[in-house]
Symmetry: C2
Subunit: 277 residues, 2 copies
């Protein structure tokens, strides 16, 4: 990866984003995947407290999938106590019920707290325990509050990098303004209602001529249902042109030489010419 890419990525990281502290991580691969998850969500500062297999560790690099800058700048500490120095507020993540007198927040609520603290200039941290056991109580005692991810109680053991992902994701979402739902129209625009009505009239004329709407008492409700179905699709101008063309093409055989152009009442009696679409 070129240096310019790295600079772009560093620049995209959020200045007030929390520091991630991995306490005694066992697998370097998880450190790499955690780094990738961090950069996905604009986090950039990684601290490692006594990783089992030492640091730096080449096995972390492929798993980081390009988030090398985070691995390169990761800081190594001998203990959790040392790793929290320089931070003003620290959340510890935990998967199990802990009998400690401490607040327990959902990741979403913790993200709000982190955003509020970052806005007032505080430097915050998110602490994660080792893969097998999680943080020990002595580590939890160093944290201001706990975060627990609500999960299936029958299977709540989560991969380390997945936990980092969830917390980092919630941090990013808490500061992101993407609309919850956006209707996209490709290169086109939603069709003008007049155009849509033109299509309905053309379609209904062809359906009349083909005999599809031949039962008079059913016609009004059938027309309503057909209109509603196309209405609901939220068609674009381009799609409406496509539908016009489709219907025109489907009825074209009726006007072919040897065919009658009078309204058809009993299609089943007629033989349709072969046509490959």
């Amino acid at each position: 990866m070129a240096g310019s890419d790295r600079r772009k990525r560093s620049a995209a990281a959020d200045a007030g984003a929390p520091t991630v502290i991995l306490v005694n991580p066992q697998l370097a691969q998880n450190i790499g995947t955690a780094a990738r998850a961090m950069l996905n969500c604009g986090l950039s500062e990684l601290r490692l407290a006594a990783p089992r297999d030492g640091w730096p560790n080449d096995k972390s690099i492929p798993a980081a999938a390009g988030a090398d800058a985070i691995l390169d700048s990761a800081k190594l500490y001998g203990s959790t106590e040392k790793a929290v120095a320089g931070l003003n507020y620290v959340f510890a993540t935990t998967a199990r019920e802990r009998y400690l007198a401490k607040s327990v927040l959902t990741p979403r609520e913790a993200a709000k707290e982190l955003r509020a603290r970052a806005a007032s200039g505080q430097k915050c941290g998110l602490m994660f325990g080792p893969e097998r056991m999680g943080l020990v109580n002595d580590d939890l005692a160093l944290a201001d509050a706990l975060v627990r991810i609500p999960l299936n109680p029958g299977f709540s053991s989560m991969n380390l990098a997945q936990s980092v992902m969830i917390l980092a994701y919630e941090w990013f979402q808490a500061g992101d303004a993407t609309p919850a739902r956006e209707n996209r129209y490709g290169q086109s625009q939603p069709a003008d209602k007049a155009e849509l009505l033109n299509f309905f009239i053309m379609l209904e004329k062809e359906l009349d001529e083909s005999g599809f709407l031949r039962v008079a008492e059913k016609r009004p409700s059938m027309v309503r249902n057909i209109r509603n179905m196309f209405q609901r699709a939220g068609l674009t101008e381009q799609e409406l042109r496509t539908l016009h063309g489709m219907v025109a093409c489907l009825v074209e055989w009726r006007n072919m030489p040897g065919e009658t152009s009078t309204p058809v009442r009993h299609r089943r009696d007629r033989k349709k010419p072969p046509r490959v679409v």
Copy 2:
């Protein structure tokens, strides 16, 4: 893992949870990690459309970390078209901007939609593309709407299992009632205010005697600040007993033989006896 564990885990999976469809997944390890993420969040039905390295694949098992039931019951399909059969509504996930006329939802909004549809008995699906490239446009055309995870625009390439995790996580949270913030008190309860006041009075008496509060005009604000600091900690009954004991122990030396018990005005002139805490 014992069969009973498996049954417990299956039982914990949510009946209305969406089916996960992995289209052309490349790495069996990612299939395993995705299965683990699914079960973490109560999803149980996995469909594989033309996985690159075939199926079943032993490399998926360690990564699933116990979510074997999901791998065992995963269904194999030859194409995306076949894999969506039996579903009523399908979201396709995408990491990039797509110029298709289709709604794009955030994972949170998509989760609400999935919950609403599940509540009305619809069977829904979440479709994920292969690791390197994501879903092709022909696959997207089979979906009702798109889901795009808002991420750092400078580094938005996400691991497949991480994407599954985010969508599964949002599904679970949309149906979960965990309070956003809960104050835990361990085995104790928040202290009675009368007990807290007793502690303040005892502490202030000792601080008077030790000379800490000797400047009369500063005393009222110092007392307020000290009270506020302990007040804010939200102490439990047990913690208050500990604090009482701590203060009593810290002043004990003053009453030791050879020491005066009169108020001390100038501590710096005195030599504290050695005491190992």
